[in-house]
Point group: C2
Chain length 307, copies 2
């Protein structure tokens, strides 16, 4: 599929891609780049790539595909350093949870012959690091591509085939629209989970130990989300600021209304709200675990995003 | 264990108890009471009890154990109607998620010879109704008992044995303290999940359909919680008002601080908060899925409270 692939950032997603690319033989030569020497050593020990290096400039030379698997906040700086060394007609892609700010940062830096095809695989766990990856992570999950209208169509096709090799399902979207949708469906829930678990960390010690002990039912699921990578999520919030603040504003208004109903003892308001929310769950369950009907998986009600 | 048991309310929890009591032969005769005739018919069809009746007064006569499995808001009225007909030395218990208001409502109504042993099994799914129950629901889960200091000790022992027969693990707690702990670990997370899913129901139709389609990662787990029984949860919030409003106040302050950090681009604040929350997750994972170390279950990382 490719002659040489370079993955920059060998964390959970990068190492999952490396495993799959090797297992499926999607290139002749796989190069892993990570700024952390310990991670490079782990990549060598785990045999995840043909070469592992901390030097991104060396690592991208001669590659017809470069995949950025680093936090959003690092992308501009890394692309600025590697751009002059990218092969003519190389394809650059990423896996970031935020798309518009990445497009804005990357496009002005690229030589004309290099194509950028931004991608966001909707997959991941709360685990981090090269040891935690696995090739099946993307199976039956969405992968959103947000190419500009003038992107080379063969580059978009190549990235589509890459993700289809992982059994991911492709959707093309405008980057700003992507950020709006995932601001609600992913970023806001993460912010709220981080906040509620943070609220618990500030409780008096005796209550806190009981909250941990009896963490079933609700809170427990929040702690899994709130164990996600801090650097990645800091950068998501800083780079999708407007959409997150907008959806947070709507949420806060709705929470105030709930608070008022509880304070006033307005049981009808609560009952009606709690009934409406069941509808969305039913629609989601109709779509199956992957967000689209898949007869092979409809029987499975486990959700890889939960514990 | 008992001669005759009456379960009032044959929903998810009541029908789970009925299945286990029958399977384990914990009484000679099991009577099911439910105000809804359709539920009584379902109980007959499913063979969940020896008799099913809509008449609670008839249903409790001659029973040495009566288990209330109805929403918190209905308990006062039901107990007022059955109290004169309870057998001398009968034991009354419940399964409510709120304890102080139940104790306040029930104790003044009971004849002196009847013992009330309030209970809260920390178990359940988002499903409702007599069809959805299963006897294993309480296995390896906590069951909190909140008896008054002057409760007959043999009644407390009998309820302890009942739950131990279901392989639940018992903890004794003061009712007000119970409400404070579960206000944080269960009630507040449910309120927030209901709110965020409610916020999504008010989005423009095109965005809403995409939120449903791409509901992985965070939001999906919230929709499961927000599909819980509306009547039960309305009554929880109305009956644990002070503790819920107090923890909601703390949460709102922390959420405002997050919002301000995002608006100002304060990455250090976000990073530090997101790092602290990982600690609580680690402590919870150390305790295992049930909230206490259980070598047989430590290997299982699935959480029955998630999807």
């Amino acid at each position: 599929m490719f002659t040489q692939i370079t993955i920059i950032g060998m964390g959970h997603i990068g190492s999952s891609l490396a495993r799959g690319i090797s297992q499926m033989g999607l290139c002749d030569r796989l190069i892993a780049v990570d700024a952390d020497e310990d991670v490079c050593n782990a990549v060598d020990t785990l045999g995840l790539a043909d070469t592992a290096t901390t030097n991104a400039v060396e690592g991208v030379q001669g590659s017809d595909l470069v995949i950025l698997c680093i936090p959003v906040g690092s992308i501009g700086k890394v692309v600025a350093s590697i751009a002059p060394f990218l092969m003519p007609k190389a394809i650059l892609t990423d896996v970031s949870s935020v798309k518009q700010s990445v497009v804005n940062a990357v496009l002005p830096l690229l030589p004309e012959s290099v194509s950028f095809v931004p991608a966001h695989p909707i997959a991941g766990t709360e685990h981090s690091g090269p040891e935690s990856g696995f090739a099946e992570l993307f199976k039956d999950r969405w992968c959103i591509l947000t190419p500009s209208p003038d992107t080379n169509i063969r580059a978009v096709e190549a990235i589509t085939k890459l993700w289809e090799a992982f059994d991911a399902k492709i959707e093309i979207m405008d980057p700003a629209h992507h950020d709006l949708v995932f601001g609600i469906t992913s970023h806001l829930p993460h912010l709220i989970a981080y906040t509620i678990v943070g609220t618990a960390t500030e409780l008096e010690d005796d209550i806190q130990s009981e909250v941990i002990k009896f963490a079933a039912s609700g809170f427990r699921g929040f702690t899994r989300i709130a164990a996600s990578d801090p650097t990645m999520w800091r950068d998501v919030f800083l780079n999708n600021r407007e959409a997150v603040l907008e959806s947070l504003q709507r949420f806060s208004e709705d929470l105030s209304a709930m608070q008022k109903a509880i304070r006033r003892g307005d049981g009808d308001y609560l009952f009606n709200k709690f009934t409406e929310t069941r509808k969305i769950r039913r629609e989601i369950m109709k779509l199956g675990p992957e967000g689209y009907p898949n007869p092979q998986r409809m029987a499975i009600d486990s959700d890889p995003c939960d514990d």
